[in-house]
C-alpha cells in the first residue's frame, strides 16, 4: 500500500537529483534541491505510517524548517551573485578554475 508513496518519493528525489546535475540556472538547480528535500519528507511520512509511530511526521516538520532556512540563505546568495553577474547560470561562474 505505502510502496507507491515510496516509489513516488524515490522518483521525485531522482528527478531533483537529475535536475541538479543537468540544469544550468542556479535558481532551478536550487529548486531541484528543494524538490529532493520534499521527496525526503514524503518518504518520512510514509515510513511513519508504516511503522505506526509519529517520528517521521515530526522529522518532516524539522525538515521543512531547515528547508525554509536553506531557501532564505540560498536565495540571498544567488541574488547576490546575480546582481553582480546579471546572470544566474552556474556555467558563467567559472572564475574558480586553476
Amino acid at each position: 500500500m505505502t510502496t507507491h508513496y515510496l516509489v513516488l518519493s524515490a522518483l521525485l528525489f531522482a528527478i531533483g537529483g537529475a535536475g541538479v546535475l543537468v540544469r544550468r540556472n542556479a535558481i532551478v538547480v536550487f529548486m531541484c534541491v528543494e524538490l529532493m528535500l520534499n521527496a525526503c519528507n514524503l518518504a518520512f511520512v510514509t515510513f511513519a505510517r508504516q511503522h505506526g509511530n509519529l517520528d517521521g511526521q515530526l522529522i518532516a516538520f524539522f525538515v521543512m524548517v531547515v528547508a525554509a532556512a536553506e531557501v532564505v540563505i540560498g536565495l540571498a546568495i544567488i541574488v547576490m551573485i546575480f546582481r553582480t553577474r546579471r546572470s544566474a547560470s552556474v556555467d558563467d561562474a567559472n572564475l574558480l578554475k586553476y
Partner: protein
C-alpha cells in the same frame, strides 16, 4: 481517510462549476473583433512590452516572502505546542519562551535593518 472523502465531494462540485463557467465564457458572449481589444489595458497608451517570464520585480517582495516563511514556520511550531500545552506544563512554557524570544530577536534585527519598511 473517511474524514477527507466529503471534502473531495465538495471539491469536485466546486471545481466542476468553476471550470465549466470559465470554459463556456468565450461562447456565451458575442464576438466583435477589434485590435484594441486584444492589447493589454494600460489606460489607452501603447502597452509596455512584457518580457517573457514576466521580467524582474522588486527584491522587496522576495524579502517579504522570506519573512513569511520564517514566521509561518514559527506558527507551525506554535500550534502543536498550544494544543499540548496543558500536558507539557512548565517545560512547554520555558521552551516556548526561549523559542519566541529567539524569533523576536531575529524580528528586531530585520526591523532595524529596514526589512519591514515599504516606501
Amino acid at each position: 481517510m473517511e474524514l477527507y472523502a466529503p471534502i473531495l465531494v465538495l471539491a469536485v462540485l466546486a471545481a466542476g462549476f468553476a471550470i465549466f463557467s470559465v470554459t463556456i465564457a468565450p461562447f456565451t458572449g458575442p464576438r466583435r473583433w477589434n485590435r484594441a481589444k486584444l492589447d493589454a489595458y494600460e489606460c489607452g497608451i501603447e502597452p509596455t512590452p512584457q518580457p517573457v517570464g514576466g521580467g524582474r520585480f522588486p527584491l522587496k517582495y522576495m524579502i517579504t516572502a522570506m519573512l513569511f516563511i520564517v514566521f509561518d514556520i514559527e506558527i507551525i511550531f506554535l500550534y502543536p505546542w498550544a494544543v499540548a500545552f496543558d500536558q507539557l506544563g512548565m517545560f512547554g512554557l520555558v521552551e516556548m519562551v526561549l523559542f519566541i524570544v529567539t524569533v523576536l530577536v531575529a524580528y528586531a534585527y530585520v526591523w532595524r535593518r529596514k526589512g519591514l519598511d515599504w516606501d
